[in-house]
């Protein structure tokens, strides 16, 4: 069964979150968990690895306007990195439905919902743009 959707939802903002300030502990934990480079001895020099942006969570995985989704999975992300993240940064994420397209594969017709999350810091500098593709049926 294929996903029924309304293309007019493309461009709609469906998630807007401002998270608590990033802590040095959270960055160090991420570095340890992912086997990133040795953190600097001086905490003042601490910068999060670029991929730290994937820890920024939104409230809704899929746009509520999409309607009933019986099956879905994360089909990958494209991330454009901006300014670095440092302890104390306050990150805001705004997520829109960027695109919806269909393709046919070995298992039949699939709809791909691309959600774009733009992450900025407290100085309104762009930290990252994350395009996440969700395969839905």
């Amino acid at each position: 069964m294929t996903l029924e959707y309304d293309r007019s939802i493309i461009g709609t903002v469906f998630d807007h979150v401002t998270a608590a300030p990033v802590t040095a502990e959270a960055i160090l934990e991420y570095i340890a968990a992912t086997g990133e480079v040795q953190p600097p001895a001086d905490a003042a020099d601490l910068v999060a690895p670029p991929s730290f942006v994937v820890t920024v969570r939104r409230r809704h995985l899929l746009p509520p306007l999409l309607g009933k989704v019986s099956f879905g999975f994360d089909a990958g992300k494209d991330i454009h990195f901006g300014v670095p993240i440092r302890p104390g940064d306050v990150l805001t994420s705004v997520t829109t439905v960027h695109d919806i397209y269909e393709k046919t594969g070995r298992t039949g017709i699939m709809a791909f919902v691309v959600v774009r999350t733009v992450i900025t810091n407290q100085r309104d500098e762009q930290v990252a743009v994350v395009d996440q593709q969700m395969m839905c049926r």
Binding site: E102, T104, G105, T107, G108, I109, Q133
Partner: protein, 217 residues
């Protein structure tokens, strides 16, 4: 002349391979991948403004373009795409009517050929089990670099039964996959018009370089 008739670059949503990196790879591997050219067949799209002449000149490799579209008989490669064809068909439609596509593309100066026919759901073989055969199929992709075990073998039976011509393509989405399967032509091909004419006329066969190149699948 050897051409890889089925390739995807970063213009397709499921590939990250830049065209220039394909060319660098082919230049480096020319002893085991003696290709003269590639045909970019991006998924469900046609971008008329794309121009690869600078890369062709720099690397000495012919770069032609087609498209891979999706129909009610599985995926098809369209060569000789022109404005008339893109006006007639919405390439983003994943339910294009195969018979109309084949007939109309031929009338409008191109050719539409089934690719990876042995693949479940999106290959011609499975559709032929439930629906009547298509008219006007000239050739099928007998060798596809991305096929799983048994899929290309299924196509051999299809070709024997219907007498289709056979061609090959890598279906590459990764740089190191380019050219592993291709098509050898008995004539020179310098343009997409030459390619379309050759595909109609015959005088080509699929070639497999996977024994010469280490391919990780």
């Amino acid at each position: 002349m050897i051409l890889d008739l089925h390739t995807h670059s970063e213009a397709s949503e499921d590939s990250r391979a830049p065209v220039e990196t394909y060319l660098k790879w082919l230049a480096r591997k020319h002893d085991v991948l003696p290709l003269d050219g590639i045909v970019l067949t991006e998924h469900r799209q046609w971008e008329p403004a794309k121009d690869y002449r600078r890369l062709e000149d720099e690397y000495g490799i012919l770069i032609l373009r087609g498209a891979e579209v999706e129909t009610d008989y599985g995926h098809m490669l369209v060569y000789g795409v022109n404005e008339d064809i893109t006006r007639r068909f919405d390439f983003t439609d994943v339910r294009l009517p195969a018979q109309v596509l084949i007939t109309e593309v031929a009338r409008l100066g191109g050719i539409a050929l089934p690719c990876h026919p042995g693949r479940p759901t999106i290959g011609l073989c499975e559709h032929y089990e439930r629906k009547p055969p298509l008219d006007g199929v000239v050739a099928v992709e007998a060798l596809n670099g991305g096929s799983r075990r048994g899929e290309n073998e299924k196509v051999e039976r299809l070709i024997q039964r219907y007498g289709y011509n056979a061609f090959g393509g890598s279906d590459s989405h990764l740089v190191s996959f380019i050219g592993v399967c291709a098509t050898a032509f008995d004539r020179q091909i310098r343009s997409v018009e030459d390619l379309v004419a050759a595909l109609y006329q015959g005088g080509y066969h699929p070639v497999d370089f996977r024994n010469d190149v280490k391919v990780s699948t």
